[in-house]
């Protein structure tokens, strides 16, 4: 296993921990990026293209905790880097807490779009409206939910949110390629906790069936779940779940703590309501087999108005504190 990029000697703590509070500077020990996984395609003349890798952007705080957080978006890392009004996002909030952070562009995605497969993209009017409703900002375009955790009168923020997207490829092939490269990334960094948004969740579950170095999964509004053959909801496998795996692969999920977090206003949205139902089936199945899965419904613990991306909402610091609780409960916050 090649790990030169993270084989940095532990840095002396030159900055007191108190300096990591909000408002003080964030102390970064080292930062950079690396490619992971991928293939090399070769033609008849022996000429090559190195392609199909993922891209990992990393930041190691000055005095890091033992565990690292692997942020897996499904729209753009914008949503991990900022909240909706431009306040610092989970990336910075958890660096302040001492966690090494990774932002992940899977193979074919964003800064890793040097793929081994052909790709095409066409713009399509209607995507703004689709984002608005599927991210549950409101029931219809610019008709905001009451109490939504979004700065609804901030035209700059609305524009930024609609542009917090780039190409994702929700095909079975793409999901498998992304999960495989991510599994290599988790191995290469000696383990990390997957923190996922939306469709990143299914990919992280799949990666966890291929690597023992996924230490935990915290999935915000994951639509798709894995089930052992013969279990789970009826219907065929789809890129948004369900996906069926072998009993042996499924067993790997029983060893790690998993939390599935959901925002507000789900009852009125048929798709998300059914996805939450699928989540319950999965969690029940995992726990019936001795696993450690749980569901966190934010309205039930007093946080209301959260969208499909609670970590980017106006109350994202409250959401972060709930993540702290989960990490502490499972002993994942050690230094």
């Amino acid at each position: 296993m090649i790990r030169p990029l993270l084989a940095v000697a532990a840095l002396a703590c030159a900055v007191p921990l108190a300096a990591q509070d909000d408002g003080a500077p964030i102390a970064i020990g080292k930062q950079g990026s690396f490619a992971v996984g991928g293939r090399i395609v070769v033609n008849d003349e022996g000429a090559t293209q190195s392609c199909g890798h993922g891209y990992v952007e990393y930041q190691i705080p000055a005095y890091p905790r033992d565990n690292k957080l692997f942020f897996w978006h499904s729209s753009s890392p914008f949503v991990w880097q900022n909240n909706w009004e431009g306040d610092e996002g989970f990336q910075s909030l958890f660096l302040r807490r001492g966690y090494t952070t990774f932002l992940w562009d899977g193979p074919g995605v964003g800064r890793a779009n040097w793929g081994c497969e052909e790709q095409s993209y066409s713009p399509s009017a209607g995507r703004d409206q689709q984002n608005f409703t599927s991210w549950r900002l409101g029931p219809d375009w610019l008709d905001w939910f009451d109490g939504i955790q979004f700065p609804t009168d901030n035209a700059f923020a609305i524009n930024q949110a609609m542009r917090a997207r780039y190409n994702e490829f929700d095909t079975m092939d793409a999901i498998r390629i992304e999960a495989e490269a991510a599994a290599e990334a988790f191995d290469q960094v000696d383990g990390a906790i997957a923190v996922t948004s939306s469709a990143g969740g299914l990919r992280a579950l799949l990666a966890a069936t291929q690597s023992d170095n996924v230490r935990a999964i915290i999935a915000y509004e994951n639509p798709g779940y894995l089930f052992p053959e013969g279990e789970g909801p009826d219907g065929p496998d789809t890129p948004f779940g369900p996906l069926h795996v072998s009993e042996e692969e499924f067993a790997r999920l029983l060893a790690i703590p998993m939390q599935f977090v959901w925002g507000d206003n789900i009852e009125g949205h048929a798709i998300w309501r059914s996805k939450l139902e699928e989540c319950r089936q999965f969690v029940d199945l995992v726990n019936a087999r001795g696993g450690k899965a749980e569901i966190l419904l934010l309205p039930e613990v007093g946080l209301t108005g959260n969208t499909h991306m609670p970590f980017a909402d106006l109350n994202h610091r409250d959401v972060a504190r709930l993540m702290d609780d989960f990490l502490a409960r499972h002993g994942l916050d050690s230094r």
Copy 2:
């Protein structure tokens, strides 16, 4: 002009400047990202897609200098984030010096590939070999130049270098769209210095004809130049230069300091030799009209073995010190 993301009150200097030396933590006041520019496409039903923006990743050090650096890649920001052996790249080196840094993915590129135009991509064996020779790592695939500033016996580094690529679109349309969005970015952040790699240089020159907020240009191995109509090399306009602009647009380039930096082993490479010649024509023309352009040939100041990307080479700290000199000479390093 909307500038909420950078309208952060100047942070108290909680970390002494000495802490910004190599090895000490980097003190970040704020970091995040934002979209800039772009359009909104609308269909007959009024449905929309917000698209065609660029993506800016920013880091503001705790005690920033007045000027900000806008890093414009032509392969992947990997080369600004790391040197070839995984040491920290110009992004971090110049944060340590107190400069706010931006990493730019122009419209259609990397994390900004939510374009308003159709795009397609096909893998193509031979790209590794093309990178190797056009980046002047050696005359032929894995036949390294003597004294090259690359860790030639490091298989991990070679693999990373070949994967430091993602889709660029070197068409006239793409260049104009990227330059236009970048000009908006320079305006939005109240001015910055463009630091460019390869084909990013032509785009930055074009952006500087459209914005008074490009404070300077430092271009590493830029293949393409702007000329007033009727001037410059013979032949048609191409995406790798030359490009012709109006006298009025060209005049904007006369107001800003510009440095064009070149590595080693150019004489034996016909294309780069002719591009350096075009650079000389441009610099002479700018200076004949009262501008402030200069060429820096690294071998002439004692740095040998540099590739097409001197800022990512093994001696990148020496290259950075030459950038310090340029910034200081033009009074661009004030706090």
